[in-house]
């Protein structure tokens, strides 16, 4: 944002560790469905500092979206966070907050960008109004200044001719334009944490790069933390400071980006990397895939979730789940495997 908006007073609490913006410990999510109890997120712990980007990668259905929605406490009906989880955001214990206090944090300190721009906007409301709604709720912008502020927000996210688009309805905009509007809604109060749930999956590659560059620039300007959920490893490699690999509702490996991509320890991470199609591969070579199915989230296995698909599996893998522990020489690199790669093996 080029100009500073007068913000309403924040829900203030002393911030004990200013460098850590978000600390999540032992977060588990259960969803009651007709088919039974689902375990989409299982004992997830991580922390994130301001100005950093955490990439979360993993296949479809491994709990990435539910993790995001649990962080902002917007789980689907029937979903709940298992007791014992600790979520500290900006020094506030998110688990203890009332719905009313939450609504003062959502949208201004913590915002989310949704996966599909086609459904994330109200089809019968002008886009300018949808952005103005957030400003109206969280900033003390005067009614007559809202329009200018909205135009400013749109310019910020790279909308060409923003003044021309504020009076459009979502169906009059293209996918990229709509996603820019969705991002403008999320960013207009300059949140401290942006949760981007596959923000570019529905967009084509050029728009994708454009929007991710915007994220990087805005992060540099305002120092916000970003949780970037993606299943595109290249995006995670280029835009995240650290990457967490999720599998079957658990984080199986978590490391600074460079370390993860050069010295992965978990077999799943390597299989995931191996499944990326390569341009320099010889013609005619089949795409490499990971054999088997991801674990059933309504009936999680007792042991390691990857045991059935792992080529290094040993009997203990089926009996006990490996804990997420730090590497011997580097505590930032955590992985959950009894027999990690690099220990005397390739």
């Amino acid at each position: 944002m080029t100009e500073t908006l007068p913000l309403k007073p924040r829900l203030e609490t002393p911030n004990p560790k200013p460098e850590t913006l978000l600390r999540v410990a032992d977060l588990s999510v259960r969803i009651d469905t007709r088919k039974g109890l689902m375990h989409p997120v299982d004992h997830v712990s991580f922390s994130l500092a301001s100005g950093r980007t955490l990439g979360i990668v993993g296949e479809s259905g491994c709990g990435k979206t539910m993790l995001c929605r649990a962080l902002i406490r917007l789980l689907p009906p029937g979903g709940h966070i298992v007791r014992g989880a600790e979520m500290r955001f900006n020094g506030v214990d998110m688990g203890a907050l009332s719905e009313k206090s939450l609504s003062r944090i959502r949208g201004r300190d913590m915002a989310m960008v949704f996966q599909n721009p086609m459904t994330a906007l109200n089809p019968v409301m002008r886009v300018g109004k949808q952005i103005g709604e957030n400003l109206r709720l969280h900033t003390a912008t005067a009614r007559k200044d809202v329009c200018d502020a909205v135009v400013n927000c749109l310019r910020q996210v790279g909308m060409p001719h923003p003044d021309r688009y504020v009076d459009c309805y979502p169906h009059q905009l293209s996918g990229g334009m709509r996603q820019r509007v969705v991002i403008a809604v999320a960013l207009c109060c300059r949140p401290k944490l942006l949760i981007a749930d596959e923000p570019t999956t529905a967009l084509d590659v050029t728009v994708q790069a454009e929007i991710l560059r915007r994220f990087d620039r805005l992060q540099g300007e305002s120092g916000m933390a970003i949780i970037l959920v993606t299943h595109n490893l290249a995006i995670a490699a280029n835009h995240a400071d650290e990457v967490a690999v999720m599998y079957g509702g658990k984080i199986v490996e978590h490391a600074p980006t460079g370390l993860l991509f050069s010295r992965m320890r978990h077999p799943y991470t390597r299989s995931l990397m191996g499944a990326v199609p390569r341009l320099d591969a010889p013609a005619g070579e089949p795409f490499r895939t990971i054999e088997g199915q991801p674990p059933d989230l309504s009936n999680p296995p007792m042991g390691c979730g990857f045991a059935d698909r792992c080529q290094y599996v040993r009997p203990i893998c089926h009996r006990a789940a490996p804990p997420l522990t730090g590497c011997k020489n580097n505590n930032d690199h955590r992985f959950a495997c009894f027999f990690p790669l690099g220990d005397g093996r390739d």
């Binding site: 019968v124 709604e133 999320a186």
Partner: protein, 285 residues
Amino acid sequence: MFFRLLTFWMPLTWLLFVTLCTVTAGWMPMPAPDIMDYDHQNALPGTVLIMPETTAGALPEARSRVCWLGTDAMGRDMLSRVIIGARVSLAVGVTAPLIGLFIGGLLGMVAGYFRGVTESIIIGFMDVILAFPGLVLLLAVGFYFGTHLWTLIPSLGFLSVPAFCRVSRAATLQLAGREFVIAAKMIGNNNGAILVREILPNVAIPLCVYGLIIMALMIVVEGVLSFLGLSVPPPTPSWGGMIAAGREVLGEAPHVCLIPATVLFLTVLSLNVLGDTLRGWTRPQ
């Protein structure tokens, strides 16, 4: 183009024409709908009536007039009765669904959005209304409070509540899971604001289209109730009452029954066609 003329402009014109007639009926140069003339019973449409010389000094040309739609079994002017009768039919047909639309729409939105116990209570209540025979309710209301417009409209409105409630609940259920509603919650809106700003504008479209179809139904229901003597009492004309009265002279003067029936048919058809067209237009986002 022709299709649109047939499915949109023609029904719309007819409905506007009927509405205009009911509004301006008081200023139209036509006899009152309840003046009986036993010299000209069951006159065919277009009959020229010669008035008996009762008014002294009246102009000669004022002594005769054309009955464009004939007269009924009591010699009352059909045109005048059809136009005045439209008032009752439209009052019932428009007001009763509006009552149902507001109450049912609101309850349905609340049920579909909050789910849980609220939904169970509201849906249970609707099931009770649906299980209760409507005719018995109308008979009871007619018996205790009399049969006139101000008892008919609320009771018909009450009976149409469950239908609107279901439409609005179904639409809300579908919308509540959509990302833009979650997004509205995400930026810190409370439930009331989400219902009014996000859900209501989206539910209003299917609800209004459905309302048009229920309007057509209510006009027919008013006609049916006339046969049972549950609609407005006789001196006041209504389309249903005219059809019921004309049935007795169907053999010798079919126009007494067929003219109001045709007008009612066209109105109901227009409402249905228009409702269908609008539903088709509003379906895609």
